[in-house]
Assembly symmetry: C2
Homo-oligomer: 313 residues x 2
Amino acid sequence: MSAKSEIRVFAPATVANVACGYDVLGFAIDAPGDEIVVRHGEKPGLHITKITGDDGKLPKNPAQNTAGVAALDLLKHLGMTDRGIEMEIHKKMPFGSGLGSSAASAVAGAFAVNKLIGEPLTKNQLLPFAMAGEASADGAWHADNVGPCLLGGIVFIRSNSELDVAQLPAPKNLWAAVVHPDIEILTKVAREILPKEIPLENATQQIGNLGGLLCGLIQEDYGLISRSIHDVIAEPRRQKLIPDFYKAKRAALAAGALGFSISGAGPSVFALCEGEQSAKKVADAISGIFAAIPLNSQAYISRINTKGVHVIS
Amino acid sequence: MSAKSEIRVFAPATVANVACGYDVLGFAIDAPGDEIVVRHGEKPGLHITKITGDDGKLPKNPAQNTAGVAALDLLKHLGMTDRGIEMEIHKKMPFGSGLGSSAASAVAGAFAVNKLIGEPLTKNQLLPFAMAGEASADGAWHADNVGPCLLGGIVFIRSNSELDVAQLPAPKNLWAAVVHPDIEILTKVAREILPKEIPLENATQQIGNLGGLLCGLIQEDYGLISRSIHDVIAEPRRQKLIPDFYKAKRAALAAGALGFSISGAGPSVFALCEGEQSAKKVADAISGIFAAIPLNSQAYISRINTKGVHVIS
């Protein structure tokens, strides 16, 4: 068999919502992330042969597995469901962490299989298949994790239903400090905590901040970015699911963060920072608040990851 | 007296909201607009000596007049309320047109007086004084007309209360077709027709479209601009105040408009178009729908006006 008979890919964690961009904005970070290995197999069809790092929680039936659904959806589209493919899934980030764990698996599944069979589709064309995988886990149809995980960088989603996405430039010195406290929040619970209706005034504030954040990112205006990182819709409701959220927020801002909010549906939190040193200091400040509870946490420091999912071997 | 003893300024009409940017986005056009003349006077204090084009509707008492309030607020800030200044106001656009008529008067008043007394403040610094004039007419505090009228171009308002505004580049070939049908809508009525609460889903759609529009404007992506010009909040409620609104919209889109919606609180409508020829065709299509009602209307074709208020003599 050729060197291409086995492919290992890495799909990065992502921070969705980004404060004012509920369901429409996300960015990728360098670590953590999931790895998926695919190879040609004798037996027709897609088979998940091995899963690690999931504490036995994930089903090996591809039709019930996030990465499997994404890959199957792609193979079905290409009329190649009989092709013999073996898949190994190595979960390297926690479930329900707010870091786009299911999106990473879905993206990795679709991307790896596409590579293995000779790359018939572009990354952009893989978006709907990765979305199908993510939706099978999450029940919702939003691209704010899948988009940046697949494409890399900062991704804005004009329309989730139309999958109309735009990539934004990442200011060179923009760093993220992401801290994951060791508790689990189900996306479903975090969604149900949100109101069905919101005051028009809040919508206008959120729209103002989202627009300000986009202008700030594009114009590399750190002051404007900082003034714009406010979420008046989800954060006030979801913060109660995260112990000492406001203490952590105050500590992050006091340590120099441009802004701080919840990553995705939580419990991970993130801060945007100007420079690596600032991000380190901010991550330490946040971790310190959780440690005092006491609550274990993992901190990640990263530039915006502009690569997205990629082959590692 | 020196040549600078009398100054005439022109303040342009503006399109606020721009579909998905309710209260946070506006742009200036070349015409119509208001003119204000100021000169040094013998009698201490600000005096409005002449008003034309208002059908006798505007008060000459500066404290009750939009342009007067803006000028007085500025003079008060500078400790110069005793300075003798005469002001003439020439209204050249209709009241309640949705073209930022009161904003134009307020901007012209503050800008003209600032020029006359030697320009102690920059354009940006005049924003709160022009806002005070506009608020005296309108009762609300939003900068989506005053901002672009003063600064020119496309202006995004991150926060109305903080007056945090950003200027966006205007794609070179972006034209506006603005049509004012001869009916009057009071801003107050158009505001009261809006709900106090909106579905979260609509807020997310609006945020997606607003972000898409900003990305499209900055990246000169006419396709993205076109896909983003949708208002799911104000337009569905306010359209009933404008006769045959949806007929006009369909005609504009059929004639090639990138998008179409209500200018400010209406009754003026606007379309964004790629190129002058397209804008002319679209304006004719819209005017044709109003003419068939029958309803008189005035059409204006303009590039985005990047100058804003300026001295004309």
